[in-house]
């Protein structure tokens, strides 16, 4: 009985450790989006010039209609957004937030919504390119097993 309890305890510890590793080691793709967006009947125009720093990394500059991507690791990170004037010289507004994606994978941050001090600035990430139809020619670097290949008749 004691041995059984020890085994169950070891299993529980390993499971907890696994969840912990998943939580602290997860990489999140963060899309920075500076496009005009419609939300609740209101239009939020793209910012003329914005500088974004994520998790203390080098800042990224975004112009209207720009979208950039970066990766951060860990359950939380800090976001610093500097809304600049149209010449990119003076900072008009600085916004600092702490984001906690936790177990979630990717996210998209809307700069116009963030600049408008709205709480719904975290958007679902854009979906990837559509899959090619089944009868498309497959790329050569993929494994193709000719299951229905006819045997040589010669």
């Amino acid at each position: 009985m004691r041995s059984f309890i020890e085994r169950v305890a070891a299993l529980v510890v390993i499971l907890i450790a696994s969840v912990g590793l998943f939580y602290i080691g997860r990489e999140h793709k963060v899309f920075l989006d500076n496009k005009t967006i419609e939300m609740e009947g209101q239009s939020f125009r793209a910012l003329k010039f914005v500088r974004v720093s994520v998790a203390g990394k080098d800042p990224i500059e975004l112009m209207p209609r720009d979208r950039d991507l970066l990766a951060v690791v860990g359950p939380s990170f800090k976001l610093k957004v500097e809304v600049m004037d149209e010449f990119g010289e003076d900072v008009e507004k600085t916004i600092e937030r702490e984001l906690k994606p936790g177990f979630d994978k990717d996210m998209m941050l809307s700069m116009p919504l963030l600049a408008a001090d709205r709480d719904d600035y975290i958007l679902p990430p854009p979906t990837g390119p559509a899959r090619p139809p089944e009868n498309d020619v497959k790329p050569t670097d993929e494994l193709v097993i000719p299951l229905d290949a006819a045997p040589p008749t010669d």
Partner: protein, 385 residues
């Protein structure tokens, strides 16, 4: 005096006979190094990287040899388990050291199950463990391909579309491990040099300290394990199964444990190997793991029945020295690097064949000597004296 001379000559010939493979490799490497034209700095750096990359895999072979089960060709089962762990870690985007540890945690239960299966099968094929485990590797490879090529992305959810074939299920041929590449090697980096010893110059050399600490821990584990009750049981079984059984040692159970430990360690070894390489060839990476590890161990002077930590490190140094210098030496000698590459592959497989033939020959001789001694006749060596 004559007797003493004979004894010395016998000792010398015995030394050469027992260490023929490492001596041949040392001679070949000594000839190939100057022809290759590589600098000492480059060779040492490459060797340090390759020792860190491969030692863990080769060390995983020691325990089954201790239990008298020969060279565990079934270690590819553990390698496959490690690769499945890495596929999940890539899919979930777990990076860095947590990614490596999580891959090990995912791979462990799979490796335990595969090791149990391997152990049970090998218990039914006593005396033929090597060929059985080799064929079992092919069988499990088929199952692995079924799971990875058809179930993943369909039955087993894979969310990262970059890992999945364009048809919607099955994992791609090659997976980039950039997020965990050399992460263990870079955990505790140490740069030494440059050194100037007379006219001999040695540049900067990077030492992957963390990887070496993991390998050292494994070596300590092997040393400690040999002294435990289980380790002693394994050694006894390796010496004589029938006597061990009579002494009350659970032979079958102990053999299964030896294979399970080896498979789990091979799983960890494959993860360490692949994090250093930075690319996972989904359908090929595990194929060569067993063959090259066994070749390296044999080149280090080990045999089917006897292997130690020293054989592992000597083997990995000699085998990989050959890997590094042979293509360039072949190119400089013949004008084609492929010649050296062919030579290296020929040597790798040839050395396994030679070791197996030597093992069969020694075993045959031992049986014949035992028969002679039962008849009361002196054995061959004594008769020669």
């Amino acid at each position: 005096m004559t007797q003493a001379k004979r004894t010395f000559a016998q000792k010398l010939s015995g030394f050469f006979a027992n260490n023929a493979v490492p001596i041949i490799f040392i001679v070949i490497s000594a000839l190939a190094i100057p022809i290759s034209g590589f600098s000492a700095t480059y060779l040492i750096q490459e060797l340090l990287i390759r020792i860190g990359r491969n030692s863990f895999l080769i060390l995983s072979l020691l325990i089954p040899i201790m239990a008298g089960m020969g060279l565990n060709f079934g270690m590819v089962l553990g390698a496959m388990a490690g690769q499945i762990g890495l596929i999940f870690v890539c899919d979930w985007s777990i990076v860095g050291i947590p990614g490596i540890v999580l891959a090990m945690i995912i791979g462990t239960p799979i490796a335990v199950l595969l090791g149990l299966l391997c152990g049970v099968v090998l218990n039914r094929a006593k005396g033929q463990e090597m060929v059985t485990s080799y064929i079992l590797g092919f069988f499990i490879n088929g199952l692995y391909q079924l799971v990875v090529l058809y179930f993943m992305g369909w039955f087993i959810p894979i969310t990262d579309t970059s890992l999945v074939l364009s048809r919607g299920y099955g994992i791609r041929n090659a997976i980039s491990l950039m997020n965990i590449r050399t992460i263990l090697d870079r955990l505790l980096p140490l740069r030494v040099g440059p050194f100037d010893i007379g006219s001999f110059h040695l540049g900067y050399i990077d030492i992957p300290v963390a990887t070496y600490l993991v390998i050292a821990a494994f070596c300590l584990f092997v040393v400690w394990f040999r002294k435990t009750k289980l380790g002693q049981d394994m050694r006894a079984i390796g010496q004589d199964r029938a006597v061990s059984d009579s002494a009350g040692i659970p032979v079958d159970r102990t053999r299964v444990i030896a294979i399970v430990i080896s498979t789990v360690l091979a799983c960890f070894g494959q993860i360490i190997y692949l994090q250093n390489m930075g690319t996972l060839n989904t359908y090929n990476s595990h194929d060569q793991a067993g063959m090259f590890s066994i070749a390296a161990l044999l080149i280090g002077g080990a045999s089917v029945t006897r292997a130690g930590i020293g054989n592992v490190f000597l083997g990995v140094i000699l085998f990989h020295l050959m890997f590094i210098v042979a293509p360039m030496a072949g190119k400089n000698l013949m004008g084609q690097a492929q010649i050296g590459e062919f030579f290296r592959v020929f040597v790798s497989y040839g050395i396994i064949a030679v070791a197996l033939v030597l093992h069969a020959w020694k075993r045959h001789n031992a049986i014949m000597n035992a028969r002679r001694s039962l008849r009361g006749a002196p054995d061959k060596k004594e008769a020669a004296l």
